[in-house]
């Protein structure tokens, strides 16, 4: 096993690959919903995993680590979009690579177009499977604020509830 030095700890190749495979798709789905194209997502994903491997704090457990990583990834996406030069150039031309029907492409386009402020709640719920109280903890907002964000996003996306929340 090859050990790699981080600033604060030794980590193994196996550990890196395990963590990458554990989180890659969830984080890719989150970044895709913000950035809308594979290439920007790849950059953000790479940076998020580098932070996890080389600049992360000590975690209490794997759930703590997962929540930290989600927050970092969302913040990286937002940072990426902060500059209007980036925002004006968001490309969603690659949707066909992932979605086969016009309906799916339309849904994803609508998701990408959602205001950033409200998007994280819906992604944490539908991608990561978190409940309202957990989302409130992760985003450091009140449960009523989470409910309001979910409600507004559902209205924008015209979602019919399946009774899951």
């Amino acid at each position: 096993m090859e050990n790699i030095l981080s600033a604060e700890k030794f980590i193994s190749e196996e550990w890196i690959l395990y963590k990458y495979n554990l989180y890659k798709n969830m984080l890719f789905q989150i970044t895709f919903s913000y950035l809308g194209n594979k290439y920007d997502c790849e950059d953000v994903l790479q940076e998020a995993f580098i932070k996890l491997c080389y600049h992360a704090p000590e975690f209490l457990d794997e759930e703590h680590e997962k929540r930290w990583l989600i927050r970092v990834t969302i913040n990286l996406c937002k940072n990426h979009l902060k500059s209007f030069w980036n925002r004006k150039k968001i490309s969603i031309n690659g949707l066909e690579e992932y979605f086969t029907t016009e309906e799916e492409i339309e849904i994803m386009s609508d998701i990408i177009a959602l205001p950033e402020k409200y998007k994280s709640a819906i992604l944490l719920h539908y991608i990561s499977g978190y409940k309202i109280a957990e989302i409130a903890e992760i985003l450091n907002i009140t449960e009523s604020a989470v409910k309001m964000r979910l409600k507004r996003e559902r209205e924008k996306l015209k979602i019919e509830l399946d009774g899951l929340v």
Partner: protein, 333 residues
């Protein structure tokens, strides 16, 4: 739309083998470039940044040169900057043709003034203290154990702030101007890796030069380089900037997404501020001067959404003084 359809769409994209390979390679072989997390954006930023250039070119139609002065503050007459936010379609309707970014890009040559700085930190312990590094590159832990990292260690240049100012002197002199970057930026931020970039092109019979430069937070103790980033763009103007208008071509935002205000610096310079709903702040400074020449400066502040006081403090150190000083230290939000 049903919830299950939304969930299905959201969870459909997955990474592919190529992406997995590239990312895990970079994680397992964190060499200098890979460890520079911010540099990973370079491929994207390159094209975006160019778009920025194009917009600036379109926005500031009048380009000219001035005369270098040795004085640290320069007397100018500042004017408000008008900003028009248009979609590409609106731009075409208004101006008859699309902004051809690629065409401008093909004509641009770049000249760099550095050296810039890398966004890399040295190894630290959990309390943030620097770990000892031996001459042969081994990192020594407090318990005496040592390890040779597989990535190159980067030591920030202790003279990085002075060198940045000197590079700015040279870059602005190349355009025929004194260094116009606010001194606060030189003192508290770090010149981006590429240094000052001067763009040059000849269009419509004019030789045009402008600079666009990145500064990032001096965060070699924390690695948090991206928390505050500043882009300084300066474009010389041949004619008066009194009634010039800049145009932002953006399909994803509207004029209503910006809160517009003004700030008059302690030197009396009028700065037109645009704060986007997402928090980034743009300061536009238009000025005319018989001595140094006319120009447009645009300073973009990223990561300053709740730091308007810092933005004002930075603008106060613009090396410009209004010809008739008007101390109006207020901001209209």
């Amino acid at each position: 739309m049903k919830e299950r359809d939304l969930r299905k769409v959201l969870t459909k994209p997955t990474t592919d083998e190529t992406m997995d390979q590239k990312i895990t390679d970079s994680l397992l072989n964190p060499d200098l470039n890979d460890m520079n997390s911010n540099k990973m954006y370079s491929r994207n930023i390159k094209s975006y940044r160019f778009s920025k250039v194009a917009v600036i070119v379109a926005a500031f139609i009048i380009i000219g040169t001035g005369t270098v002065l040795a004085a640290t503050r320069h007397f100018v007459k500042s004017y408000p900057s008008k900003r028009d936010v248009l979609t590409e379609e609106e731009y075409i309707q208004k101006y008859g043709s699309a902004l051809n970014v690629e065409e401008i890009y093909e004509e641009v040559t770049k000249k760099y003034f550095g050296p810039g700085n890398k966004k890399l930190t040295l190894p630290r312990d959990s309390d943030g203290n620097l770990l000892e590094v031996t001459d042969d590159g081994y990192v020594v832990f407090p318990d005496g154990s040592s390890y040779k990292p597989i990535y190159e260690l980067y030591t920030p240049d202790p003279d990085r702030h002075e060198k940045a100012k000197k590079s700015g002197d040279e870059a602005f002199a190349y355009m025929g101007y004194p260094n116009l970057v606010p001194t606060y930026i030189y003192d508290n931020y770090v010149l981006g890796e590429k240094g000052f970039c001067i763009y040059e092109t000849t269009r419509d019979g004019y030789d045009k030069k402008w600079t666009m430069t990145e500064f990032f937070k001096d965060a070699y103790d924390t690695g948090d380089f991206s928390s505050e980033v500043i882009y300084v763009t300066f474009s010389p103007a041949e004619h008066s900037t009194k009634n010039s208008t800049s145009i932002l071509v953006d399909d994803n935002t509207t004029k209503d997404d910006y809160a517009y205000s003004t700030y008059t610096t302690k030197g009396g310079i009028l700065c037109s501020l645009s704060k986007h709903v997402d928090g980034n702040i743009i300061a536009d400074i238009n000025f005319d001067s018989d001595t140094i020449g006319n120009g447009h400066m645009m300073i973009e502040f990223i990561g300053f959404s709740n730091k308007m006081d810092t933005v004002k403090e930075i603008l106060d150190t613009l090396p410009l003084t209004e010809d008739i000083v008007d101390y109006q230290d207020t901001i209209e939000e």
